[in-house]
């Protein structure tokens, strides 16, 4: 059997479609030489590294959605449509029918839809939610929080309103600042990543910047601070002061981390994922259990040690923490 055959077996293992017979074949091949072992490790690494795929360009949701709207027919639902709008509408449809999309037409079209302002209100309930805004910005909304945004942003600004806590990954749009207003503060940015926390029954609020630059202004006052990477602003309730602090580790963002999900995943693959997530090394001593199937969804808010216990509970594995970044797993059997 040539190497290709075993690479194909590794693929089947990663895909979770390997048979017991093939598992045996693969392990004995891996044990044959260190070269084989190296190939196997690298192929598994390739699989891990290909987990994400990002298109190498930006998407402009507004103009692309406007294109869609030019080719479809949206019946008027609202009764308060004024005639000018409806005439504009007809004209634009006529242009679309002729398949000529002029820049000015797009512009008018955008104006038209701005007139009909509708706000979308997102409430997270008991779970953290991730979603996208019309401009492509990514939002992580912490549990028990609420974010409102217009179904279409206006041409020169992007305004959203937050109650509670959210992490913002704002897409860069020249001349179109992004503004978050909460009960007590207003945060203005131009493409950055930052966390805003203003919870009703908490004395202080907090804004933390992971990337870029933001301006934080206390509502109904002229107190403001400019924050850059790894800085945060908090509020001193006693002295009514807006403070700026350094904050390198941004631990307050841990809430936004996701859950790790496994669905008949090989143990080794699951451990690799955990290792990457927590940035640690996990050594699996008993190689015979590396293909045990793992399933389940685990919160990564848990400590590593506890998470490892949860994940490997069926295999009766002993877990030893060697130091902050090294964990050793010994013993165990596939159930």
């Amino acid at each position: 059997m040539n190497t290709d055959h075993y690479i194909s077996l590794i693929y089947k293992e990663l895909k979770g479609i390997i048979s017991l017979e093939e598992v045996k074949q693969l392990s004995s091949w891996e044990l044959q030489s260190s070269k084989n072992q190296k190939i196997a490790t690298e192929i598994r690494q390739v699989w891990l590294e290909t987990e994400q795929y990002e298109i190498p360009f930006d998407l402009d949701h507004d103009s692309d959605f406007a294109k869609i709207k030019l080719t479809i027919n949206i019946p008027e639902v609202a009764s308060n449509v004024i005639p000018i709008q409806s005439r504009r509408r007809l004209w634009i449809n006529a242009v679309a029918a002729a398949a000529i999309v002029l820049l000015s037409a797009t512009f008018l079209f955008q104006n038209y839809f701005q007139d009909k302002e509708q706000w979308v209100e997102v409430e997270s309930g008991s779970e953290i939610m991730e979603f996208k805004l019309p401009d492509g910005s990514n939002i992580w909304l912490n549990a028990g929080s609420k974010l409102s945004y217009p179904s279409k942003f206006s041409i020169n600004e992007r305004l959203v309103k937050l109650t509670g806590e959210a992490f913002f990954e704002v897409s860069k749009k020249e001349g179109k600042p992004f503004q978050v207003t909460t009960n007590r503060i207003t945060v203005t940015v131009l493409g950055t990543q930052f966390n805003v926390r203003d919870i009703a029954n908490e004395k202080t609020f907090e804004v933390a910047v992971q990337e870029g630059k933001v301006r934080v202004q206390k509502n109904e006052s002229n107190q403001k601070v400019i924050l850059e990477k790894n800085e945060k602003a908090t509020y001193d309730e006693v002295n009514y002061l807006l403070n700026k602090l350094n904050d390198k580790n941004l631990n307050q963002l841990s809430w936004k981390r996701k859950r790790l999900k496994f669905n008949n995943t090989a143990l080794q693959t699951a451990l690799n994922k955990i290792a990457v997530h927590y940035n640690i090394n996990i050594k699996l001593e008993n190689k015979s259990i590396k293909d045990c199937h793992i399933s389940g969804s685990y919160s990564t808010k848990t400590e590593v040690l506890k998470l490892l216990q949860q994940v490997t509970t069926n295999q009766k594995i002993k877990i030893k923490k060697l130091n902050e970044t090294e964990y050793k797993l010994t013993g165990g059997t596939c159930k």
């Binding site: 089947k12 290909t50 949206i74 939610m129």
Partner: protein
């Protein structure tokens, strides 16, 4: 000040992944000609669909066009649409069909069993511009440079999480071909990683 257009059950819990309840709720609104619901759906699935199309075509504008077309199709069929497979797979299917038709029309796709299997990818020079920590990017560039057929099969398996059976049905090829092509892909990608590792080993 804020009119609540929707209640909380409607919006996504994870990126690009509305629950079926949320999808149904949106679809219901869309059936009632609600363009805000249509926009919410667009905002959440547009990137997903463009990414799929781009992996098939490697053409930006075409990829965006096909993703947009899927929404147009959905809108035009909204009244008598009976989607059993879920909204996301439905939209995906529209996009994939468009991509495959396009590639076939342009004769850039040869899935016949006896067509020659390419040995490895040819050009990984772009990788030289990357930093060490960009391994993931390196691999992605290498994925982009896989030959059409090889890339499409690999991506269907890896990113769209399709089973061999589904891939073979969609592309009309045998599972053996799928395994062969994925093996070729993995080997090429491993080579790309190797090259990066060597570049930064000094």
């Amino acid at each position: 000040m804020f009119t609540s257009a929707f209640n909380n059950q409607l919006l996504p819990r994870t990126m690009n992944l509305l629950t079926s309840e949320q999808e149904n709720h949106l679809l219901e609104k869309i059936r009632q000609d609600n363009d805000t619901a249509f926009r919410v759906l667009f905002d959440n699935y547009y990137r997903y669909l463009t990414t799929i199309a781009y992996r098939y075509l490697k053409e930006r504008e075409k990829a965006k066009d096909f993703a947009q077309d899927a929404f147009v199709v959905l809108w035009n069929q909204r009244k008598d649409l009976n989607i059993k497979i879920g909204l996301k797979p439905y939209l995906r299917q529209v996009v994939v069909n468009k991509c495959l038709n396009h590639l076939r029309r342009e004769e850039r796709l040869d899935f016949s069993e006896n067509s020659k299997l390419p040995e490895t990818i040819t050009n990984i020079d772009a990788i030289h511009h990357l930093e060490k920590e960009d391994l993931q990017k390196t691999v992605q560039i290498a994925v982009d440079q896989l030959p059409n057929r090889c890339r499409i099969i690999f991506c269907m398996s890896r990113y769209e999480e399709k089973s061999h059976k589904e891939i073979s049905q969609e592309l009309g090829i045998t599972t053996k071909t799928i395994e062969n092509q994925i093996t070729i892909a993995l080997k090429a990608l491993r080579k790309a990683i190797h090259k990066t590792a060597m570049l930064f080993s000094f």
